[in-house]
């Protein structure tokens, strides 16, 4: 299972704080890239694509910032969020 999380404005826009996916639902591989994960999500929820494309979205895999070519595997936690504004 892959745990997917959305935060802050992105969470509000998608109206979704997160979801769990089985990696087998995504591909017949044991690992896939973030890019492919996004393609899968955009395919399921067509409106999400423009939400992602109209702003800067950061990606963290297991709490570390990564790029879209990063490979994820079963058990990973993938988070998507806008630029941070704490402090």
């Amino acid at each position: 299972m892959i745990k997917i999380l959305f935060f802050a404005r992105l969470k509000d826009q998608l109206n979704c704080s997160g979801l769990n996916l089985e990696i087998n639902d995504l591909d017949n591989q044991s690992s896939i890239t973030i890019r492919k994960l996004l393609d899968y999500l955009f395919n399921k929820n067509p409106s999400w694509q423009s939400t992602f494309e109209h702003q800067q979205v950061f990606i963290a895999v297991n709490q570390e910032i990564v790029g879209r070519e990063t490979t994820i595997k079963d058990g990973d936690e993938v988070a998507f969020f806008p630029p941070v504004t704490g402090g």
């Binding site: 509000d12 936690e77 941070v84 504004t85 704490g86 402090g87």
Partner: protein, 150 residues
């Protein structure tokens, strides 16, 4: 020693300062930064802010920033406290305190930690005005602030 706290409750500045002062090697310099909720912004009057965060990532990120500061400068104590949830105007949001043998190290490490916290720690701020609730945009000056540490 590194102490990091993420909490909804307000913090006691005086207690944090006293903690920084007490170290095995008594420090010669303590620098503290405190961030407070301003009561206005480009959106108008601000009554409060709401701070969301990514709990699993927040402490990990702050710890990493503190460890990097400790490798870069000779520091006795580092304390980071960041509040989450709803915070009323004029209240405290964040505290970063550093104790060191020397003044320059304490100033640099404290500012370094705040600069990286602002850019890397997964907190998001929403401003609550009398009429709106608006997510705060990130500032270019915050990412530019990192240039001096590279």
């Amino acid at each position: 020693m590194i102490n990091i706290h993420i909490q909804e409750a307000d913090f006691d500045h005086s207690e944090l300062y006293n903690g920084l002062r007490s170290a095995n090697t008594p420090p010669g310099a303590v620098v503290t930064f405190t961030g407070l909720v301003r009561d206005f912004s480009s959106h108008g009057d601000v009554q409060a802010i709401y701070l969301e965060h990514y709990p699993a990532m927040t402490e990990k990120t702050l710890h990493k920033i503190a460890v990097t500061a400790q490798e870069r400068w000779q520091l006795e104590n580092i304390v980071i406290v960041h509040r989450v949830g709803k915070i009323t105007a004029r209240e405290q949001i964040v505290f970063v305190g550093v104790a060191s043998l020397h003044r320059k190290e304490a100033f640099q490490a404290c500012e370094y930690i705040m600069d990286y916290l602002k850019n890397d720690a997964p907190f998001w701020k929403k401003e609550i005005t009398p009429t709106h609730e608006l997510w705060v945009e990130n500032k270019k000056s915050d990412s530019e602030a990192l240039d001096k540490w590279r």
